[in-house]
Symmetry: C2
Subunit: 151 residues, 2 copies
Amino acid sequence: MTNSVQFTRSIRSWMDIFMHRSMRGWGRYAKSTGLSMHQVSLMMQLNYRGACGMSEISGRFDVTPAAASQLVDKLVQSGYIQREEDPNDRRAKLLNLTDKGRELIRQGIEERYRWVDQLAEKLNDEERVQISEALDIMRRAAEELEAEPVR
Amino acid sequence: MTNSVQFTRSIRSWMDIFMHRSMRGWGRYAKSTGLSMHQVSLMMQLNYRGACGMSEISGRFDVTPAAASQLVDKLVQSGYIQREEDPNDRRAKLLNLTDKGRELIRQGIEERYRWVDQLAEKLNDEERVQISEALDIMRRAAEELEAEPVR
DNA sequence: GTATAAAGTTAAGCCCGCTTAACTAAAAAG
DNA sequence: CTTTTTAGTTAAGCGGGCTTAACTTTATAC
């Protein structure tokens, strides 16, 4: 199982570097927006997963409905998201990014991508192909894992 | 430059998955310790970079010296780090992890590694070798990048 | 050797995010 | 059709993290 050990070592060490780098970038970005962690996260989630309701929010962030309501309020007042009535259930609300919100998130994502683009410049064609293939394999494995029951 | 496009797509998509997963894990861990983000970060940094002084802290986290002092205080009182006098400059302090602190961080790191270990189980030997090589290339590139002047 | 700068600490006060509690409105249950 | 449950909001209050301001102690400048 030597290659298994080698694999573990490689991925862990990559992970350390990547995490460190990402966290730094993320922190800076969140700070630059003037929004809280939760607020940025919420918008990211709206961007990736699409619209959702209030109860969804308080569930995901593990806060009370009241807290969720206030969290959303600020984002609405700042014009980043909008809160509409759910046509299927008039008690419920549907949260969506506004254009302004989408733009803010887009910038955040760009920021995150910049680093890997710089990384790409350091590689030759052959290396890119190799890495690209490797990452696709990992992505598939990750998706399988995600689909499985929690453990 | 088709393979460049392909590379970009692969790495970005991997990044999205990885980030999402890591942030979730990190958040849960930080919460489970009952410590603030900064407190956990500080300990992580002490673990990876070794001892440092107070001014270093307020610089890295971009907070006032007063805030840094209070931040450290709580960790000292909880027994996670210790604050000693710097022998070279008796005004300055040197912060270090205690055994208890080191253990806490070790657990956090383990936690983070668990996911990739599960990922490894999903792969066959050939894939592991391929990925391992690819990651090593990326790691080298990342280290080069880190060494360069900020831009 | 005095004056100034630097490293940290302490205390008081502010702001912000969270919670609980009380509420409204709509849907589901009976 | 009444009762109960569900989705969300509003208001009041608490606690934590941060800041400013004043202070002590040690090092550096001249």
